[in-house]
């Protein structure tokens, strides 16, 4: 028996090339129908196409086996059958990754008027995969249903990969809905910036996932103990070390978590960017803490519409 799992050898999984080849190189006959571009430029064409066709939602379907083309295809999940195309798959995975996404953010992604864009989300709703929730009585956002969540989980490419995108269904904190609905807008801006640097976004980790990992570590020694009082037995030094291992700021005797973390690859290395949404309510010590944490801060406005970032908030943050 082998004494290692070959699947652990990541470099093996990554470093083989699977190139595009041109079919017409040797036939030399079908001139009138040959693609006018140089067939030897297939790789360049591939790269150009990628650059041209970048869709920030692509990162979220990377680990899923769902349709990616223009045509809708039948997707089976248990007894349910759905019809999805690539756009549906991307929207579904993106909603799952951020838990709640304003409808307007999808609209603006496509630069299409709302009446053209809307049917796609309506299709997902009609299929029972997403539902709409009201935002401030003006806009609405979309979130996964349990069926939508199940569909994504059932079509994971590799369920043993712990670094795969986590998906969520439903609204977790109704009071925070307005705040949570801003995450995707912030992601779009940060993703654009990262992409310009040549980064390849792999996944997004929401605050609650980071906190869950932290809590699991805190309670590790209490797990399974009937006599436990539920209080963690980690001392501040251990906690600080955990925070350092996870590249999270630790000060004022606590670990500080961003609203979400973008994990990406750049120049062959895995990196991440922590992002925090700041609102008008960020004041005083809270705002100062966010500034000290060193997270990338985004306010309302910009791509997502709504009110612009209040300069007074910035003043609070960076004083």
């Amino acid at each position: 028996m082998l004494d290692f799992d070959p699947r652990d050898r990541d470099e093996d999984v990554r470093d083989i090339e699977m190139p595009w080849v041109a079919l017409r190189r040797d036939s030399g006959l079908d001139r009138e129908e040959v693609d006018p571009r140089d067939p030897d430029d297939a790789r360049d064409r591939d790269r150009d196409a990628r650059e041209r066709d970048v869709d920030p939602r692509d990162a979220f379907i990377d680990g899923l086996e769902l349709p990616r083309g223009l045509e809708r295809e039948i997707v089976v999940d248990g007894d349910h059958r759905y019809e999805l195309n690539g756009d549906d798959s991307r929207s579904l995975a993106t909603v799952g990754a951020f838990r709640v996404v304003p409808e307007r953010d999808f609209r603006e992604l496509r630069d299409e008027p709302s009446d053209l864009r809307e049917p796609d989300l309506r299709h997902l709703r009609d299929e029972g995969l997403v539902r709409f929730v009201s935002l401030d009585g003006r806009d609405r956002a979309v979130t996964l249903t349990e069926r939508g969540h199940h569909l994504l989980e059932a079509h994971r490419r590799d369920r043993s990969d712990e670094r795969e995108q986590t998906f969520y269904a439903g609204v977790s904190r109704p009071r925070e809905l307005s705040h949570d609905a801003q995450l995707y807008g912030a992601f779009l801006r940060e993703e654009e910036r990262l992409r310009e640097q040549g980064a390849d976004v792999r996944r997004v980790v929401l605050e609650q996932e980071l906190k869950r990992e932290y809590q699991e570590w805190l309670q590790e020694h209490n797990r399974g103990r009937a006599d436990s009082d539920g209080r963690p037995d980690r001392d501040p030094r251990e906690i600080e070390e955990w925070a350092r291992d996870h590249d999270l700021p630790y000060f004022d005797e606590s670990v500080h978590f961003p609203d979400f973390r973008i994990e990406y690859a750049l120049d062959g290395r895995d990196r991440h960017q922590d992002v925090e949404i700041v609102t008008d309510h960020y004041r005083g010590a809270h705002a100062a803490g966010v500034a000290r944490a060193g997270f990338k801060c985004y306010g309302r406005g910009g791509r997502g519409g709504g009110r612009g970032f209040d300069p007074r908030v910035a003043e609070e943050l960076f004083r």
Binding site: L2, M18, V21, L23, R24, D35, G69, D158
Partner: protein, 360 residues
Amino acid sequence: MMKSVSIRLCQSVSPSRIGCLMRLGFTERQARFLVHVLVFSGVFLERQYRAFTGLAHGQKTHDFLARLVTAGYATPITPGALHRGRLFHVQYKPLYEAIGEPNNRHRKPASLGRFVERLMLLDAVLADRRYGWLGTERDKRTYFHEAFERDLPDDWYPHLSFGSGAEQTTRFFPEKLPIGVPLHGDRRHVFLYLATRAVPTDFRVFLVRLADLLRSVDEWSVRVLLPRRFRKAAALYRYAVRDAFMRPLTPREIDELDWYFRSRRGELVCPSRDPDLDLTTAARTFGAARFEALYRVWHQRGVQALWALAGGTLRDQLHRGWGRVEFAELPHQYLQLTPLVGKAGRVEKMLEPGDNLATA
């Protein structure tokens, strides 16, 4: 190590088959093209004939097509709107008999989607003349038997078995995809795969079935043909290759998978040897797409199918460049019928008597 094989066995479009059709009154060029059609697709488009022969659209092409239709050798099929184009289904049994393939399924009617898939395969074969191409099950078996000097067990060839006991029938190379064989001192074999879906479920099964044969071939390429509409699916197909060939199964995983698959099939099994592995855990651990494909092949071949993916031979072949996976985009529109690929359907409309073939 594979043995050098007579060039006569390296291609289905053999001189003897071409000669047989020439005796029916076709020119060498026409006969060569027709043998390609009979062996690889059963259907063709006018532009494929023109590209193959180097002829422009004109009288000669018209005469050839008219002869095929009026003699009853081929049936023109006009799918959808007029002027979108026609395809020609060569269904005349004596033609197939002449090349020694009287029961070839290309002769039978099929759905438009299947016809379009075959047109794509014909394009892929006609486009690459560096290789001899094998199309029929018999030609493939004969070639590999010779090349391996009959050392390779039958179970190592991709196959599907039907029935049981004395009535069991085994089909080798069940996907019926052309295989390219080196002609000029090269050692590389090319295994074509036509993507008919954006999700590579069937491709994973194809890779598992092919694994044993690939391990025995000196140098090989799996060439994935992607219709334009599936171009973006290349990423998923790459993952499928990595899952199948770059992540070999360990003996322990094979034990666990065999136990899980037998449980899943409803067999009464003892608890797993691993005390931490129960059905719930196994279903979660082995729920990924790669294991679904393994289950399908395991269902047909048993645990031997799993052993085909053990060991690092295929991974090493890929690392050393002896094995290679490449993607080729099919650039044509196929009468704008590519959405039918991978779907069932029926033949829509036959040519009406008196229709002008030159507009085909």
